[in-house]
């Protein structure tokens, strides 16, 4: 069956179910989507909304034994993909559409060189297209594509093992993989999400440029509205397997009509507000003081145990954290922000320097039984920080029994669940029955059970969807008001810090670059790195874009490529 259509790809009224134990479960409801040649389309939604399933359905990487297409059809270049033979469908991969893999960390087999990965794809693509070439010619073509994705030394990249390349470079290789053969549609599933914000920014720029230069169509699958704004002309919003709204990016960003879209926009923390409310918190006494704190990690020791090689994880750093404030430590991966927090918690020894809490030396302060556990932590990923084999009540029981020494623990667990706004019957559930946001609430409840004075929040919302993030942040703000807690908030998400923190410290490669009130850091950053970092954040409005600090591309690149 063929239809006359100007669209490169069109999905019509598609209903899709997964086969699960005991029946089927519908995951896509009446999906209609079209991509014209040269058009950039974004598919946006939170986890479980069906956006990745849709993109996989398009490129046909779903396991045919697990899916059941109830009704509807997919047209690729006007031909019905569902009536195509397996071989015809397979031949479309790499010639009509290509997919950019999501995760540069896990998409490579570490025992093979980058060149081997690329050659394999080159080989299978050539077979599909009936091209016969020698290995040298194939290599030449691979080099050309590597140059296209701005890997300036293709020879080195070709011969490198995956672990010898940085995350950003690997992501570029993944893009190159999708471009080895002339293609018409590029499908990008959350490109660069696993990377630092500055690197992600570069990747997105690159994709945009490639789409423009090669006149490709783009299907951008993402949860990040800021990325959509930068990379798409049209946008489809998905929720619970349905497309709830679609339209041009300009229209939807200006006035989202569906309540879900509106809520999504509302959940995104704004980098700059038009009406800045500067509420001065009263000056409070200093709670934590770091004096020339330094941390070195030994990376190599000789047989006697003396250190041969070491890395400087935190360069000598001094800062103060006041009682009752939310102190943000911003930085990208490897900047030393977590190490700094772990030293404050006493989980990691200082190499030199001094930490005092309430004007007492850290060790002396911790000797007091009351203070011993009064710095608590909420980890990044609640799926990892809560034991999957223990019920919520069992998890909460531990600090109540050992630290708070509460006798009526059942009642206390109910109180804690109420405090983090979870229903009381959750006490007897296992973590696998809870969603990510709910698990993070349990982690917060566990930290609160120890009656902490300071709560270290290590990227507590980075594993969560943006609307859930908002509710968790609101909960944290409420708890701070109720309990007078001091927060140390570690994050790479500056727009979130902008809305949540009172004061911010910016770290870069183990060095504390600047500290100041949130307004000062964001409105008048003094360091080039801070400017580059803020500039790279994807934002959702032109107004925010205008407010970003000015820094030239060369300057930004220079500071980011600085050697340690």
């Amino acid at each position: 069956m063929t239809v006359e259509s100007s669209n490169l790809v069109e999905i019509k009224n598609l209903n899709l179910s997964f086969k699960v134990y005991g029946g089927t479960k519908q995951v896509l409801h009446n999906i209609s989507l079209s991509i014209a040649p040269g058009e950039r389309v974004a598919l946006i939604g939170e986890s479980g909304s069906g956006k990745t399933v849709t993109s996989k359905l398009l490129i046909n990487t779903l396991n045919p034994e697990q899916i059941q297409i109830e009704s509807g059809d997919i047209f690729i270049q006007g031909k019905s993909a569902l009536t195509m033979s397996k071989e015809q469908r397979e031949a479309l991969k790499g010639s009509v559409m290509s997919m950019i893999q999501q995760d540069p960390q896990t998409s490579f087999n570490p025992v093979f060189r980058i060149g081997t990965h690329l050659l394999d794809i080159m080989h299978s693509g050539d077979k599909n297209l009936g091209i016969k070439q020698s290995k040298t010619e194939q290599k030449e073509r691979i080099f050309e594509v590597l140059r296209k994705v701005k890997l300036l030394d293709p020879e080195r990249v070709y011969n490198a093992y995956p672990w010898q390349l940085s995350g950003g470079m690997r992501q570029r290789v993944l893009i190159a993989m999708a471009l080895l053969h002339p293609t018409r549609l590029l499908i990008a599933d959350e490109p660069g999400t696993a990377l630092d914000v500055t690197t992600q920014n570069e990747i997105i720029k690159l994709i945009n440029q490639l789409v423009h230069d090669e006149q490709l169509s783009l299907l951008m699958v993402t949860h990040n509205l800021g990325v959509v704004r930068k990379t798409a002309d049209r946008v489809y919003v998905m929720q619970h397997g349905r497309i709830v709204e679609h339209g041009t990016v300009d229209d939807i960003f200006a006035s989202p009509s569906h309540p879900y879209t509106a809520r999504l926009f509302d959940s995104v923390p704004k980098l700059f507000h038009s009406e800045e409310s500067v509420e001065d918190k009263p000056e409070t006494p200093v709670l934590v003081r770091l004096i020339d704190v330094e941390k070195r990690f030994a990376t190599k020791k000789n047989w006697k145990g003396s250190v041969i090689n070491e890395v400087l994880a935190v360069k000598p750093t001094s800062l103060q954290i006041h009682k009752g404030e939310t102190f943000g430590i911003a930085g990208e991966s490897g900047s030393g922000k977590t190490t700094l927090a772990r030293m404050i918690m006493g989980l990691s020894e200082l190499t030199s320097g001094n930490i005092t809490i309430e004007n007492k030396h850290l060790d002396a302060w911790r000797l007091n039984n009351e203070n011993r556990y009064s710095i608590q932590m909420v980890h990044q990923n609640p799926a990892a920080s809560i034991n999957p084999r223990r019920t919520i009540a069992q998890t909460l029981n531990v600090p109540l029994k050992h630290i708070a020494k509460v006798t009526n623990r059942k009642q206390e667990i109910q109180r804690l669940l109420k405090l983090v706004e979870l229903p009381p019957e959750y006490a007897d559930m296992y973590p696998s029955n809870l969603s990510g946001g709910q698990k993070q609430r349990v982690a917060i409840a566990r930290a609160l059970a120890a009656n902490p004075k300071i709560l270290v929040l290590d990227e507590p919302t980075s594993a969560l969807d943006v609307s859930v993030q908002k509710s968790v942040i609101e909960l944290l703000e409420k708890l701070q008001r109720q309990l007078g807690l001091t927060y140390i908030f570690i994050s790479h998400d500056l727009s979130l810090m902008r809305n949540f923190c009172d004061r911010v410290a910016v770290m870069f490669r183990g060095e504390l670059l600047e500290t100041g009130t949130t307004q000062d850091i964001f409105n008048k950053p003094t360091q080039r790195y801070t400017k580059a970092l803020i500039r790279a954040i994807p934002v959702i409005s032109d107004e925010e874009e205008r407010h970003k600090p000015k820094i030239s591309d060369e300057d930004a690149l220079q500071v980011l490529q600085q050697k340690y």
Partner: protein, 303 residues
């Protein structure tokens, strides 16, 4: 946010893929997944049949009295027939009856060895991984040392120092067996101790004992049960080997290894006397291995 969409309380408006599966009980799901693996189901049936045979041996065996030191020289070396399914041995005892009673001994050996060696191995493995430092070095190096000794030689040494008997065979095999569990669980626990929930438990003031038994151990259960099931077969084989060499269970207790050993004197003429107990060993080991493999796929663990 003022919209008309119904919202769950507490911002619980996340779409979770598990909603459908929650309707079915976890046990039902588990059995469904397990039952798709035919080899594992066959393994389970074999193991259950052997256990039932062992428990109800006096009721099932056609000649229960043949399990002991029964002698009937008129019926010696009879080939397999309707009356004697597996034939009779050199003193006229029904081999089928003896095999069924032999399973009792085999299973007793399995239960004895594993209930001794698995807890020790698992506990030492977790302690080594969790404690680190010299504790780890001591446990694991001692373990390596034992792994380097050929198991059969060590077992022979132990059983020949002690009196050859079922109990002493158990002790000897247990002494060899715990270190495999120790090795496996050590590797697994080594990765579990780096998990955030272990650090969170420490921050919650949990004791070491709590962390070992309540946080780490439950996450090892899948691996332990797979390894134990696979081991059951090997323990039987090892016990049979010891008995074959005359250092395990002593006659007239019916033991599969001893029966193969005695029967082998009459090969090839009276082949059934060695082959039939041998097949019985094959049957039970096959059962445990199929079941263990099935459990491994089911739990999706590396052993």
């Amino acid at each position: 946010m003022n919209n008309n969409e119904p919202r769950l309380p507490n911002g619980l408006d996340e779409f979770s893929m598990t909603t459908a599966s929650k309707q079915y009980s976890n046990i039902g799901r588990a059995w469904y997944r397990f039952s798709r693996n035919y080899a594992a189901v066959i393994g389970l049936i074999i193991v259950c049949s052997v256990i039932l045979m062992a428990i109800f041996a006096p009721l099932i065996a056609p000649n229960p009295e043949h399990a002991g030191s029964f002698v009937n020289f008129r019926a010696r070396h009879l080939a397999p027939s309707w009356e004697h399914w597996m034939g009779t041995d050199n003193v006229g005892r029904d081999i089928f009856s003896r095999v069924i009673f032999g399973y009792q001994v085999s299973l007793a050996l399995v239960v004895g060895v594993l209930s001794l060696s698995v807890p020790i191995g698992v506990l030492l493995g977790i302690v080594a991984a969790y404690a680190g430092g010299w504790v780890e070095q001591t446990i694991m190096r001692f373990n390596d040392m034992l792994l380097a000794v050929p198991p059969l030689a060590l077992a022979l040494a132990i059983t020949s120092i002690l009196e050859p008997s079922l109990i002493n065979a158990m002790i000897a095999i247990s002494f060899l067996w715990w270190n495999w569990h120790c090795r496996l669980i050590y590797q697994l626990a080594k990765s579990i101790v780096t998990e955030d929930f272990v650090e969170a438990a420490k921050l919650s003031g949990a004791s070491h004992w709590h962390i070992i038994t309540k946080e780490i151990l439950p996450n090892c259960v899948a691996a332990i049960s797979v390894k134990t099931t696979l081991d059951a077969g090997f323990v039987i084989l090892f016990g049979a080997t010891l008995s074959f060499l005359g250092l395990g269970v002593q006659p007239p207790t019916p033991d599969l290894g001893t029966m193969v050993s005695t029967g082998s004197n009459y090969l090839p003429e009276y082949w059934w006397e060695a082959i039939m107990p041998g097949l019985a060993i094959l049957y039970i080991i096959l059962g445990f291995n199929l079941l263990g493999d099935g459990l491994r796929d089911f739990f999706d663990v590396e052993v």
